[in-house]
Amino acid sequence: MTTAISVSGLVKTFGRTRALDGLDLTVEQGEVHGFLGPNGSGKSTTIRVLLGLLRADSGTATLLGGDPWRDAVPLHRRLAYVPGDVTLWRNLSGGEAIDLLGRLRGGLDPTRRAALLERFELDPTKKGRAYSKGNRQKVALVAAFAGDTDLLILDEPTSGLDPLMEEVFRECVAEARDRGTTVLLSSHILSEVEALCDRVSIIRAGRTVETGTLDDLRHLTRTSVDAVLTGPPPRPDYVHDLTVDGNRLRCQVDTEQLGALLAELTAVGVRSLASRPPTLEELFLRHYENVSDAPSTAAVR
């Protein structure tokens, strides 16, 4: 696999605010890459650097083998972008906006355009000012999916979509991947990321704190254990959030200590045992919440 997006040590400051603080991001060709982070962590700033709208202060960024600032125009022929908050021209109809946005990068497939309008249930004759937030989002999505592009950059693209349309969106991303398109998907909707993404990068305060496949990330974190034993449970000091209620034990354990815990539990005698890998939510919350230990410890674990 070759690399579609390669960013390293990216720094961008706005006045005294350090929006990007040495961010790294690698997206391989043909993958759907989830780009996660709390509000204000620098996701949109990264994307705007990749689109050549902002100029980075330092660090390197390569997009489809080119420089996103210098080669913006030829690169943009090969990519489509959906912002999280689409604003349309008040006096252009949705259909006109779709065609215009498509033509600005070299044209749309008319058959696919028609099919997408149908699937997203979008009326293209309304004027820009008459669309709701979700429908404005659909205009940009149809324009993006109806073209043949090497790369889709989607910045929280489903904000405002209802669950049915969210489903259509997932199908469209899957179809794009099947055509060989690389997708960078910035999102807050974890089920969406879980369903679509091959790999994810989690950023915080302008820095990448985790990157890898979902399995990798799960492996790096703690498993929840809920066991009912035949006797009084042990109280090992390497587990976290331990609660003991009679013969019942609940705790979280780092993956490398899971074997040791199971050995201790079987030594007492197990009546029932449930262990659950961490959900993406838990993974997330850990990174979003722990301000102090996030960048350093996450990298070590």
Binding site: R48, L53, T87, L100, L104, R129
Partner: protein, 534 residues
């Protein structure tokens, strides 16, 4: 709902004052400052009554000056001269300030979706409109008070000073109420400002026709700006005339309130039509998009320029007749080059006014770039295979060529109307008038290029593009009457243009003004290429 319709007005009023804490004082201080400096320079230049009377008689016999500034009702006092010289200007300034203010706090807020947040609070349906009008009332009251104070400080009578201040303030209040209505009718802030701006233009033209001495004096009474002149400060102080703008404002406010009750949030009064399901083949690049976005405004401006040219062209007959009737005046004017000279002086002044107004359009169409950028609409365009220069270039064709269209239209209609009114060669009149208006282009371009340079290099200070315009126009417009030193006058490109028709044509100032414009534009584009967008 009626019991709660005004809930929250006080909070919104304070919010409006807080948001406008810089803009409103600037408007009021600039207006007052210019009136003060006019009064003080008249005091210096025409210290005794005899010199004032001579000056006033010379002015009042000149139809073109009367069309621009209005008649002098009593030129024996400094106050009377100041009220004449700054009356129309002050009334237009108050009208613009009030219009922009009311639209900014009503329709523009609604368009941006901020009203939704406010409307969901404990805020009555009419509260935003009422708060905006209260803010406008405050600003105009401050203007009236300050104008009164500075004229008192210049040693003028209290009654006249107060009458002048109130005449300006009442005009502002009238146009605030008018803007409250256009903000209900139009769906965008831009359109609401456009409608109200057209009304201001119409009011100016009506009183210009009435004041020019062409026998249509009644036309001044159709114009709110004419009413403010007819208060006649320092020349009888006709207080009852103030009832016209204030009564009109009350009626318009009632209308706006009724309209608020009968429409949905975000909607206008005009129905929406569906658009095409697919784009025409021509809508294929950034330049085509720019044409689509800007053509409506250009059409509106072109219609206004055509109408303005026709009106000022047809008034030319009155200018000539007026001089013909008055032996003494004719002697004076003979020194200016006889009847033809008077006519040329009038026509070249009118051409200059069209140039300065075309510069408003030029700056406005340059700043469309900023509106596209800050609204986020430029982003998906530039995420396409579109370079920044190409994107900007599409829009910049309008300040470059649209201004030529406007000036040509005004020159053509002015020439036609003048030819029809005076008889003689219409084609000749059109050609001479076209020369007069088109010669304004370099100065118009330079004004636009300054705005572009500010936008490209200092995007956060884009509004300062208007400051450049304001300086150019104020210097050229008021500098000569204030007898400012030549180097100050030279700061405005409009000072350097040949006075056509009639004056000598010299290409040099046109060439170097155009060259300066090109330099400023290139600096702006270079800045735009290098900086962050959004």
């Amino acid at each position: 709902m009626s019991g709660y319709a005004l809930t929250g007005t006080g909070a919104l009023y304070r919010l409006a004052l807080r948001r406008d804490r810089i803009a409103l004082p600037v408007w009021v201080y600039v207006g007052t400052g210019m009136i003060a400096s006019t009064a003080f320079s008249f005091r210096k230049l025409y210290g005794d009554e005899a010199s004032r009377r001579t000056f006033a008689a010379g002015i009042d016999g000149n139809g073109s000056l009367r069309a621009l500034y209005g008649p002098i009702f009593d030129g024996s006092t400094i106050g009377g001269l100041t009220a004449w010289r700054m009356g129309v200007f002050g009334a237009v300034l108050a009208a613009l300030m009030s219009t922009l203010l009311v639209v900014r706090h009503t329709r523009a807020e609604e368009e941006d979706g901020r009203f939704e947040l406010i409307g969901a609070g404990a805020v009555g349906r009419r509260a935003p409109l009422t708060a905006a009008l209260a803010t406008a009332l405050t600003a105009n009251a401050a203007l009236a008070a300050l104008v009164t104070v500075v004229l008192l400080a210049a040693g003028q009578a209290l009654a006249g000073a107060l009458a002048f201040g109130l005449a300006l303030g009442a005009t502002g209040v009238f146009f605030a109420a008018l803007a409250a209505v256009t903000a209900q009718v139009a769906e965008t802030g831009r359109a609401a400002n456009g409608l109200a701006g057209a009304a201001i233009g119409l009011a100016f033209v009506l009183r210009a026709v009435g004041d020019s001495g062409s026998g249509a004096g009644w036309a001044s009474w159709l114009s709110p700006i004419g009413w403010s002149e007819q208060v006649r400060p320092f020349a009888g102080d006709r207080w009852w005339v103030l009832a016209l703008p204030l009564g009109g404002a009350a009626l318009l406010t009632a209308l706006a309130r009724a309209l608020v009750e009968h429409r949905d949030l975000g909607a206008g009064m005009l129905p929406q039509r569906p658009g095409p399901a697919a784009a025409a083949p021509g809508l294929a690049d950034a330049a085509a998009l720019a044409r689509r976005l800007q053509r409506g405004a250009l059409l509106g401006w072109a219609l206004a320029f055509a109408a303005g040219g026709a009106v000022f062209g047809s008034v030319a007959k009155g200018v000539v007749d007026l001089v013909g009737d008055n032996r003494q005046m004719a002697d004076l004017m003979a020194r200016l080059g006889g009847q033809q000279g008077v006519l040329n002086a009038y026509l070249s002044t009118i051409a200059g006014v069209f140039g300065m107004i075309a510069a408003v359009y030029a700056v406005q169409s340059v700043l469309r770039l900023r509106a596209e950028e800050s609204s986020g609409r430029a982003e998906p365009v530039l995420a396409g295979a579109v370079s920044r220069l190409r994107w900007a270039g599409g829009h910049l064709l309008f300040p470059l060529l649209g201004t030529a269209v406007l000036l040509a239209v005004a020159g053509a209609t002015a020439g036609l109307a003048q030819g029809a009114a005076l008889g003689g060669g219409t084609g000749d009149a059109v050609g001479r008038m076209l020369g007069g208006t088109l010669v304004q282009l370099p100065a118009v371009w330079l004004t636009a290029a300054v705005a572009l340079a500010v936008y490209g290099l200092l995007p956060r200070w884009t509004a300062a593009g208007w400051a450049g315009y304001g300086m150019f126009v104020l210097v050229a417009w008021l500098g000569p009457i204030l007898q400012l030193p030549q180097w100050v006058l030279d700061l405005s490109p409009f000072t350097h243009l040949p006075h056509l028709p009639g004056g000598a044509f010299t290409a040099a100032p046109l060439l170097w003004t155009t060259a300066l414009a090109a330099l400023a534009a290139l600096a702006g584009l270079a800045g735009l290429r290098r900086r962050d967008l959004g």
